[in-house]
């Protein structure tokens, strides 16, 4: 099986086609109940044919440009860069419509839903960004939409719940397990089994069974492709270091596709309380083999982080693979470091970023002058804007001041 995957990768990119069984080295695969297996095959076939169809690509690119606001700019941070002694570039996915990179993925999957003759999308969401994006794309293309969200997250991201409802989506609160992202995925998978005839499961990250990790990475490739060209324009070269936060890993995977075949150092940053890439053990969850937080007998542990979008006990299988072969590094940022990065970026650059990409920034701030040599060029993907987090940050800063 691994031989097969190697063949598909051979000659191409390090982030190549994972082949018919969706293997990234030992990771990936398609560990789903038999009821869902044919749907995964159908989806793979539909995606491969759409991705090879210039008309589909043109429709997607057109929507991302004229509806989504692409290309997003790259901003050089003069003041923060100077303070850190590096040249710091931000890939501004916060400026895409709906305020994060998630739109790239959902517009593609919504078009694919139509192409498969289905009229409904379901989605899981943590922070609510993917749910909002899925609701948005559904409204745009006239699809029904149901979003599953853990109860812990509907509370800390109440405004995003209302946003989804405004957009015409139904939000289902998930009260099982840890009542966060992983349980929302379980519930969405259960719903998909029962409704697969007319419903597409629009997964929000590079995780789950094949073809999702491959498909979502391809749909996020636009981030890396643009960032590569923009870096050349600004720096005259690719950056020395390319950094992105990792929940499931879709903004990181999209970003990495633009640089994986260059000399750039690639770094994915997880929440310290959900660091599956560094603390995880190989296992199977949500249809994939990857690195997971789990106990000695294989029960999945709950991730814990201030950012709902990174509260996931696993990472996408391709990240597990990139880590295993040493092509990418995975690091952690603590909640405190993240809050600092959030404030620093707002005050030195006038950007209120989402807590998720503040993990990537926090790592850069911590490593500048250490593993990031003075004078280095660094690109950080700013995967989303921070409006959704402002109320929570206010409370967290007040809490910290009181400590």
């Amino acid at each position: 099986m691994s031989g097969e995957a190697t063949n598909h990768m051979a000659g191409g990119s390090v982030m190549g086609d994972p082949g018919p069984n969706g293997r990234f080295g030992e990771f990936g695969g398609r560990f789903v109940p038999e009821s869902l297996f044919p749907a995964c095959l159908e989806l793979e076939e539909a995606f491969r044919s759409a991705w090879a169809d210039p008309a589909f690509r043109a429709r997607l690119d057109g929507l991302l440009a004229r509806f989504g606001g692409r290309p997003t700019p790259v901003t050089e941070c003069q003041r923060l860069g100077e303070r850190l002694g590096i040249r710091l570039l931000l890939k501004r996915e916060d400026l895409a419509h709906t305020g994060s990179h998630k739109l790239n993925n959902v517009v593609g999957q919504a078009l694919l839903t139509q192409r498969m003759g289905k009229h409904r999308m379901i989605a899981e969401t943590g922070a609510g960004q993917h749910g909002v994006a899925a609701a948005t794309a559904s409204a745009l293309l006239g699809l029904d939409c149901t979003v599953f969200m853990g109860e812990v997250d509907t509370e800390r991201q109440a405004l995003n719940v209302f946003r989804m409802e405004l957009l015409g989506a139904e939000v289902k609160t998930v009260r099982t397990g840890s009542r966060t992202l992983k349980d929302a995925v379980n519930e969405a998978l259960r719903e998909w089994v029962a409704t697969v005839d007319d419903t597409h499961y629009c997964l929000g990250s590079v995780m789950g069974p094949h073809p999702f990790p491959y498909m979502v990475r391809e749909l996020q490739r636009v981030v890396g492709t643009e960032a590569h060209a923009q870096s050349l324009e600004i720096l005259g070269a690719v950056p020395d270091v390319v950094v992105a936060c990792v929940g499931g890993g879709s903004n990181a995977a999209g970003t990495f596709t633009g640089f994986v075949d260059t000399d750039a150092r690639l770094v994915g940053v997880e929440a310290a309380g959900g660091a599956a890439a560094t603390n995880g053990i190989p296992g199977i969850l949500h249809g994939m083999r990857s690195r997971l937080l789990q106990d000695e007998e294989g029960q999945i542990r709950e991730a814990e982080s201030i950012s709902a979008g990174l509260d996931y006990p696993g990472i996408g299988p391709e990240h597990a693979h990139l880590g295993a072969i040493g092509r990418a590094e995975y690091a952690r940022a603590t909640d405190d470091e993240v809050l600092d990065a959030f404030s620093v970026l707002a005050q030195t650059e006038g950007i209120i970023a989402a807590l998720e990409p503040c993990h990537a920034l926090a790592w850069v701030i911590a490593e500048a002058g250490r593993s990031i040599q003075a004078g280095s060029t660094v690109l950080v993907t700013l995967s989303g804007r921070g409006d959704k987090d402002v109320a929570q940050v206010r409370d967290l800063l007040a809490e910290r001041a009181a400590r």
Partner: protein, 266 residues
């Protein structure tokens, strides 16, 4: 593709089910979540005496992807007692049920134990078979090799969505019996049998001589009887588990299993 040797001799579960079927009986396989009540072993013993042909025992997993609300609640009830999987298997080992047991659990537990060690643990617990619903045919080989070598029968599932050629490939590789999922959806009780039930059983029957047991959503003695007009037997989960969560205990479980047995004929 997995080894499709037709010469493999049936294991304990398949032999028992074949003998019963060939004797003209319909097969009854109740499902119970291990550790869901303090007296779960007595529940198994009561069920075994009340006319079950085999028992499916769930091993609780933190993320039970195809379990409906009732079986999820049973899993949570089990976790509240802080069990270990090995501890539950140790309890099972001394249960002396007199009928074959198939465990049902998710692949991560198997993978984390290690394939060979998990198979050995099942053998030591007196378990005949394993059902691992998130392990499809394409990913089956590493576990199936260890299971075959250790003498554990791996029961595979076919669904209403499974195309005929795939049904044949799955049936060839299944051991113990062939599990026909009678509707698209998670486990749970339903008011009526789905339209898909007969079709999936007939597609399986056309390509396999294995005992075919239908499951997922079969809730009443009447539904069990109806599905057994085409199937060789039934797996009944949520309807029994709900009663156990309501506190009916071993006697209530035996009573319900007795009703199911009655509906299927002795």
């Amino acid at each position: 593709m997995p080894d499709t040797s037709v010469t493999a001799r049936p294991g304990g579960l398949e032999a028992a089910l074949r003998a019963r079927r060939d004797g003209g009986a319909k097969l009854l396989i109740p499902y119970v979540m291990a550790g869901m009540t303090d007296d779960w072993i007595e529940v198994l013993q009561a069920i075994a005496s009340a006319g079950a042909d085999a028992i499916e025992v769930g091993l609780p997993f933190s993320d039970p992807m195809i379990d409906g609300p009732v079986v999820q609640a049973a899993g949570l009830a089990a976790f509240e007692r802080h069990p270990t999987i090995q501890g539950l298997l140790d309890q099972l080992a001394i249960a002396e049920l007199g009928i074959p047991v198939a465990v049902m659990t998710y692949y991560n537990l198997v993978f984390r134990f290690g394939h060979r060690r998990f198979a050995a643990s099942l053998v030591a617990a007196g378990v005949s078979a394993a059902i691992v619903p998130d392990l499809p045919l394409e990913e089956l080989d590493p576990w199936a090799a260890a299971a075959d070598a250790g003498g554990i029968e791996t029961v595979l599932m076919v669904a209403p969505s499974t195309p005929p050629a795939r049904v044949a490939a799955i049936a060839t590789r299944s051991r113990g019996f062939l599990y026909a999922i009678t509707r698209m959806g998670v486990t749970g009780e339903r008011a009526a049998l789905g339209d898909a039930a007969a079709g999936v059983v007939e597609r399986a029957r056309a390509v396999s001589d294995l005992p075919i047991c239908a499951g997922i959503g079969i809730s009443t003695p009447e539904q069990a009887r109806e599905v057994c007009e085409v199937a060789d037997g039934v797996v009944v989960g949520s309807a029994l588990v709900r009663r156990l969560l309501d506190g009916v205990g071993p006697e209530g479980a035996a009573e319900f299993v007795g009703e199911l047995r009655g509906a299927l004929g002795g």
